[in-house]
Symmetry: C2
């Protein structure tokens, strides 16, 4: 793990790093010492580790709860090079949708493919970040919607350090296997008028979670329009389970 830059703003320390060829970012309270809960965040499709929504959430998690927050670029996103195989599949999928194919199953298959790479990457990132003195081996939460849900479901299912997860804007199609192995508390976000994920698929994913505690939060609006108050809710959810 190599740190490539370190800046402080408004009481928050932001450290950019690379782990092998994975570019990442770690946010902590300035002057933080000793172990603390860590939130790993997965970004949405076409976004990256420092997209505005990611930074805004990280600020709240760090400032209000004292968590450490880490995020990395998904292959083909942010500071990572284009991935030729993923690009080829994405182009093929666009052509299939243009020819009348259903979007949701194509997205689901694609995310399942990418997850085979990201699950081991994210576990390695957890190892590295938790080895730092100002993060340490505290409880871990995962936050990810849309692509961050498609990649998050197999990650949360595989990683016993994750004790609670906020997921959403995703359907049950591809991750059916992994979703039934998730037993930690989940807050699951659904946009009631999601133009990308069929509502029935969203409800089926919620249904399939094996967690004893799981809350479906559905709000009106399209895929990208999660209301701001859900961040407040996520914060309290993580505080309850990791605090």
């Amino acid at each position: 793990m190599q740190f490539t830059s370190e800046t402080s703003f408004d009481g928050i320390l932001e450290q950019l790093f690379t782990l092998g060829d994975i570019p990442g970012v770690l946010w902590t309270r300035e002057g933080a010492v000793g172990p603390r809960p860590l939130i790993l965040m997965g970004h949405g499709g076409g976004q990256h580790k420092k997209a505005p929504g990611m930074v805004a959430r990280a600020r709240r998690f760090v400032t209000e709860a004292g968590f450490a927050v880490a995020a990395v670029d998904v292959p083909g996103h942010g500071d990572r090079p284009k991935d030729e195989e993923y690009d080829r599949i994405a182009t093929e999928n666009q052509a299939r949708v243009a020819a009348g194919a259903e979007l949701a199953p194509l997205i689901a298959d694609f995310q399942a493919l990418v997850a085979r790479q990201t699950v081991p990457e994210w576990r390695a990132v957890l190892d590295a970040v938790q080895a730092l003195g100002h993060v340490g081996p505290g409880p871990v939460g995962y936050w990810g919607v849309s692509l961050g849900c498609g990649l998050g479901v197999p990650f949360v299912a595989a990683e016993p350090r994750v004790r609670a997860a906020v997921l959403g804007l995703g359907g049950a199609l591809a991750s059916a296997d992994a979703v039934g192995r998730i037993t930690v508390p989940v807050e699951f976000l659904v946009q009631w008028d999601d133009e990308r994920v069929p509502r029935a698929q969203s409800l089926a994913l919620f249904e399939a979670l094996a967690s004893t505690e799981k809350s479906l939060h559905a709000n009106p609006g399209r895929h990208g329009e999660i209301p701001a108050f859900e961040l407040e809710s996520a914060l309290r959810f993580f505080a309850r389970h990791l605090g």
Copy 2:
């Protein structure tokens, strides 16, 4: 409005009252002076204004947010006499269900009938309680699930003083008309394994609300098993909209 008893415990003033033949209770912070937000709570079927869940919610709303909280007995419940017509219908409905009829539409019709009495009653209670110096003409919230939802939907639709409502454990069957006239923010509670309200009916009620801001919160479990953390969420919801 006549006060029939007044007790204080743990910083909370509890005043029992009657308004005509409606028995009610008002909780406020001890020593409270001047206007404050008011939550009107509707109790569930077979319960009453001071059922344990009602008292527990009132305590949190008063202590943590400084709200005034009022509740009254629904006809045929608590300190009110049996209502012969309602009793007769309830007995008939039990016989119909025993003979194989669907429960949900019968409940819905029954609640619509009772609401014709409770909507004007509850509006009169609002008038009376808001005329008190330690409550005053502040914003009003409504909290009610199950019977409290069946009676609450037509009340919230009819009463412009209500600015936000927590509803749930109810279906769209009978209140279809009223539900489409609700435009205030709503937090809507669904129990995913509700044995009394079919899930599709619950989702249809949420769908039919005309509110721009509405959040469906669904949790696993049966009709009576709303998890405790939803009270925390309701508190923040009311604080956001009435505070």
